[in-house]
Every structure is written in C-alpha cells, then in structure tokens.
C-alpha cells in the first residue's frame, strides 16, 4: 500500500480525528442513487497524508456504486474494495506530495450509494479498523486514532407522507436585552408518525438575531458525533439548518420537544425567526418497515424584541427555592413587577438556571418601565408561593407600604436569594396544571399520591426539591410552608 513515508506505529500521535458522513440520513426510492460525502474532522489541523476508512452496511439494501477521491486534497487511493459482496468496505486515500492539507474539515471524497431493496441500513464507520496518518516534520509520519464518527442511516422505499409534522417555537415572542442569550424550544407535533431524523431550516433576521447553538433533546435524538457547527449549518446570512438524528429503535412520536435553540439579540429591534417549509425542511421516520418523509408545517413562528440595555431597565435577579442547595435543573418563574400607584406587568416563563449552591439566576427586560421607577418585584416559582421583594439583599418580609426598588437604566443586579421561595403551591393536574396561590391539603394530596414516583409527569408536579423522586422530603417542605406563610404575597 503506498504510503508517503514509513508510518511510525510505535510513535502514534495522541491526538484524535473523526470520520463523518454527510448527509447522515436519507430516504431513497428503490433504484435511487445518492452521493454521500466522507469527511475527516481534524480539529487540531494536522497535515493529513493518508487515510484508510473501513465501513459496514447492509448489502441487501444498499449498494456502494463508486467512490470519487477528492483529488484537490489527495493524490491517489484505492476505490475498488467497496464491499458489495460482504457488506464491509474500504476506502484508501493518500497524498504523496509535499502539499498536504491541514484544514479542520477535509473532504475525502464522494461515495455514491444505490438503493437495492426496501429497508433501512446504517452506514457505519468501523473506527478501530480505520486509520489516518499525519505528517510528523523531521521524522516518520504518525498514525492517528479515529476517535469519533458520525454514522449514516439510509432508508429505502420511503415516500412522502401526505401528513405533515407541525413545528412550533416556544415561546413565540419574548422581550430581551441586546446580547442576552435565551432559549427557545422546538415543539413538534407528529401525530402517530415516528421520527428518526430532523432537518429543519430556519429563516431569521440575521441583522438583529444570532443563532448561537442548537441542543437536540437527548431523550428524542441521539446526536452522537454532531458538533455545534454541524448542527447549525450556514447560521449566518439569515438561514440556518438544524439536524438531529436518532439511530436507535426507540423513535419519538406524538408531541415532543425536539431540542432548544439558544438565541441572542445582536441589535435593537424586532427579529423574526421562521420555520422553513421548503423542500430542505423535513422529518423522516427511519423505521425499516415504514420509511417515510414528512414535510413541515409551521405551526408557530417566532418574533423577538431586543432592547439596548442603556435605556431600558434589565432585571438580573438571584433567587433561591426552598429545599435546594445544589445545582438542579433549570426552572421557569413568573416575575410580576408593580410600580407604586402605577402599572403592574407580569413576565411569565422566565428561565432561571442554578449555580453550584442552588442559587438560581434569571433576567428579564422591563420594557414597560423606565429608569427611576420604584417597583416591588414578586417572583413565583413553578411549585412555590409568590414572594415580594422590595430591596436588594433582602432578608425579611416587605411591609405592605414598602417604597420599592429604584430602577436604573440598563442592568439592575438584585440578589433576592437571602430569602427562599416557599415550596408547596403545586401545579394541579386536576385544574389544567394551574397553581392556586395557596398551600393547602390539595397540594399535600398531590405529593402524597406520588410518593416514590420518578416519572417525569409526577416529578413536574410534586418533586419540590428537584432530587428526581417524589418523597416525604417534598412533603416536609410543604408542611414547613403550611406552618408559616401559606398564600401568595401580592
């Protein structure tokens, strides 16, 4: 096998490269052909001189028609061992010149596949049999471990389903400060369709909005091998393409959250974020028995308003939930801001995240208030009574006639974590998951009937200390609240 230099097997480099396929999922008709690009991810930008890539596939479903070497990067290779008789193939490429490529993503070449018969086949990179060699200036080249791979899954016999998958952005609107990151969830309504792959195009105002990251829901998609960059292709220029893939057998159906998109406002104004409904946006059911593609219907686009922090007060607050003293899952709270003898505004679904000591941080743009306004702030947790805050670093309850906090233009950093938000006002499934503003025997009963349960529905109702189980510790927190203040402070 021609190698540019002797490979120093014993001096193998400790760095890592990956081998990825693009696209990672396709639905083809029988007889259809598609091009799969094989890419080496080379995060440390080493000069690649040689690659031997082994792969496996279901030879009854797919045929490897040909492999075209990327001759702009490699000078030659071997493409005649594609494994159509065994289901195990090999591609070899090398560069015997001194002009080696060292980019982060190196295209090895294009593998043309053909659909032979109905069914689903993975195209899996066999990492421990594959080999990549890098230049080692002044010495022999070094072998590099193929540490990661993004396998592909290709379904034959797929058809466009007459049904559509509805996609919604949640929340659809929000007011945020410029440069403030926030999350929008991608809600999917697929009916009975089982979803294994998502390719979603988003169109957005790139002059005001930046898509920072897409985080697939790990309970729905196994996004192994996707880097952040892979998940957001061409996120500049107002078009982003999100991918998520489930290579397992447990495919999601019905209503589920596909993931969350981290957004950031880059300039003042209102930016739209629209679900793309063109041919590039689709979901695929990757089941072998019923491979189908489902086009996307935009159920709810987004519109987000950003304000510069120089003029509008932004409330950055710290709070503490009763019974939580360590980092726990993100929560959402309602923030009610009351101006003395003036307006009252309620900001709902404000995300808060915990630090290592269980202090939760959140931020809300007070677009309805101006610098100099004196306000009292009421914060209500998802299973908690609302508490009134009237000063920074507050340690006791506010009086009914408290003057309130004087807002400054821009950032107002307020620490309300010296007082806990009392737990016990639970979302009641019997009443549309509404909280009723009081801790009483109904809340106790909601805990008592779920003691020992760990399912997400039970936890969302009655796991007050967010430790992943409903137990008497949660009931104890409620009893503590019952004995003190047991109704919302409004």
């Amino acid at each position: 096998m021609p190698v540019r230099k002797q490979v120093g097997k014993k001096a193998a480099w400790a760095g890592k490269v990956g081998v990825n396929l693009s696209p990672v999922a396709l639905v083809l008709g029988v007889g259809g052909e598609e091009d799969i690009t094989i890419i080496i991810s080379n995060p440390q930008k080493k000069k690649i001189s040689f690659a031997d890539i082994r792969f496996s596939f279901d030879k009854n479903i797919l045929e490897m028609k040909s492999f075209a070497i990327n001759m702009s990067v490699f000078s030659g290779g071997e493409t005649d061992k594609l494994g159509n008789d065994t289901g195990s193939g090999q591609i070899v490429v090398y560069n015997t010149t001194q002009n080696l490529t060292d980019s982060e993503m190196i295209t090895v070449g294009v593998l043309k596949i053909k659909a032979k018969s109905a069914g689903a086949s993975n195209l899996a990179i066999i990492k421990d049999q594959s080999q990549v060699v890098i230049e080692n200036p002044g010495s022999d080249d070094l072998e590099v471990m193929v540490a990661s791979s993004q396998d592909g899954r290709y379904v034959v016999g797929g058809e466009i389903s007459p049904g559509k998958v509805v996609v919604k952005l949640d929340p659809p609107t929000a007011g945020k400060g410029v440069n403030q990151e926030f999350d929008v969830e991608l809600k999917v309504e697929s009916g009975s369709f089982k979803i294994g792959f998502m390719q979603l195009v988003l169109n957005f105002d790139s002059d005001k909005l930046q898509i920072v990251k897409f985080i697939p829901n790990p309970g729905v998609f196994s996004a192994d091998g996707f880097s952040d960059e892979d998940q957001i292709l061409a996120a500049a220029g107002g078009v982003a393409k999100l991918f998520a893939l489930n290579l397992g057998d447990n495919l999601a159906a019905g209503n589920f959250t596909a993931g969350k998109i981290k957004l950031k406002g880059t300039a003042a104004g209102t930016a739209s974020l629209d679900i793309g409904v063109n041919q590039d946006s689709y979901f695929a059911g990757l089941e072998a028995t019923e491979p189908k593609m489902f086009y996307i219907e935009a159920g709810q686009n987004g519109s987000y308003t950003f304000t510069t922090s120089r003029t509008v007060p932004v409330l950055n607050f710290k709070i503490k939930f009763q019974g939580i003293d360590t980092k726990r899952a993100d929560q959402k709270v309602a923030v009610i801001v009351k101006k003395a003898a003036g307006i009252t505004k309620t900001y709902t679904d404000i995300p808060v995240s915990a630090d290592s000591s269980g202090v939760y941080l959140g931020s809300v743009v007070l677009a309805d208030f101006t610098a100099g306004d004196k306000v009292n702030v009421f914060i209500k947790g998802p299973k908690h009574l609302a508490k009134k805050f009237c000063q920074n670093n507050q340690t006791g309850r506010c009086g009914e006639d408290s003057a309130g906090i004087a807002l400054s233009a821009g950032e107002n950093n307020l620490d309300f974590s010296k007082l806990v938000l009392e737990a016990g006002d639970l979302p009641n499934p019997n009443e549309d998951n509404q909280q009723d503003g009081v801790v009483n025997s109904v809340d106790f009963s909601l805990i008592e009937s779920r003691v020992g349960k760990v399912d997400s529905a039970s936890l969302s109702v009655a796991d007050l200390n967010l430790d992943g189980i409903v137990n008497w510790g949660d009931a104890g927190l409620l009893l503590n609240t019952l004995g003190t203040k047991y109704e919302d402070e409004y």
Binding site: N440, S441, V442, S445, S449, L479, L482, G483, Y486, E487
Partner: protein, 201 residues
C-alpha cells in the same frame, strides 16, 4: 328545606331552591342513557322525572359542615365555645381538610382553637385571626388516607364578645386562594360540601 324522595327511598336534602331545578334537569338527562327506568314523582317544576344512573356524580354536597351549638348567646364579658363538625353520608377517604372560618373581629375575639386529633397533622395559623380568619389545615399521612363517615368533630373554638350585637361565623367557600377544602385521597380532588353558619349574639 325541601325534600325530594324518589321511590328508592333515597333522600336528597336540598337547601337551595335552584338546586332543585338543576337536579330535575340532570335526572331528565339521565333518562336518555339509562336503562331500567322507573318513574319518579314530578319535581317542583312539574316535570316528570326518571331515576338517574346511580353512578352519575352526586349533585348534592357529599359533606356537611355544621356548628354545635347552632347559635351562641354570649353574656357581657362572658365566653363560650362551639364545635365544628364534618359529616358524611357514606365513608369517604381523605388526604386532608382545610378549614377557613370567617368572623367579624370587631365583634368577637377568638380565645382558643383546639384541633381534634382525627388526622395525623393539624396546623392552626394564629396570625390569621388578625384578618378575621380561623384557618386550620388537617393532613393525613397514611397512604390510603383516613376514612371518615357519620359525624366528626374537627375542632373546638372558644370565643368571647367584644361588643354587643349580632354577628355570624361562616365557612369560607371561595373558588381560589385561601378557602375551605376537603381533599379526597387518591384523586386529590376537592369534595363538594355544604357549610352552615353560626349566629353569635
């Protein structure tokens, strides 16, 4: 107080006239779906009613709060006490009860509240007395709840008069917020109840 007495011998006591009409409507509705129909006497509205499915939700309160005695006459500077009772026609399993009584704090002063020990826990909130509220929560820690039937004495309240005149102590029934609640074991649902009031002279 009006009584409707079906042929089954099942007696429904209705304290509010509008409930009679509602009962009749529900009974008529029941004839559409129910077999084994038997005739009932005509209701107050003159409609011919039919026996409803016994599995349909009861429309009369399943629980009744009552005061004992039903009326208190206080002498000047004198004190008295009353019991608050909760009764059920059939055995009901409960996870808890929240009692909220409202009174005129200008007229009477609550001296003492003694919750019964029927339930595992009870919480009396003394601070609420300033707001004219007697609030006590009873909770049952046993997994299956506590089974109650018949008459149950929930608490004893001792009070004295502040001024001459009449006032009333009532069970607070509100849709949301601080209110009286009876919570069923297992379902966490609120059980309907009827609350009487206590005259204090």
């Amino acid at each position: 107080m009006e009584k409707i007495e079906p042929k089954t011998g099942f007696i429904v006591e209705v304290s509010k006239p509008w409930l009679v009409s509602l009962l009749c409507l529900l009974v008529i509705f029941g004839t559409v779906a129910v077999t084994g129909i038997m005739d009932l006497p005509a209701g107050p509205g003159g409609d011919t009613a039919k026996k409803a499915d016994q599995n349909q939700p009861l429309i009369q309160p399943r629980a009744v709060f009552s005061f004992s005695p039903a009326e208190i006459i206080l002498e000047k500077a004198g004190s008295a006490s009353f019991d608050l009772n909760l009764s059920f026609e059939k055995e009901v399993f409960l996870d808890g009860v929240d009692i909220v009584l409202i009174f005129d704090s200008q007229m009477v002063e609550i001296i003492e509240v003694v919750p019964s020990e029927i339930f595992s826990f009870s919480v009396f909130r003394k601070d609420d007395l300033q707001k004219g509220r007697i609030s006590v929560t009873f909770l049952e820690e046993r997994g299956g709840g506590i089974g109650l039937s018949g008459n149950n004495e929930l608490m004893t309240v001792k009070l004295k008069a502040k001024k001459a005149g009449e006032s009333v102590i009532e069970i607070l029934e509100a849709e949301k917020g601080v209110t009286t609640v009876i919570t069923e074991n297992g379902t966490s649902r609120k059980i309907d109840f009827k609350g009487e009031s206590l005259k204090v002279k």
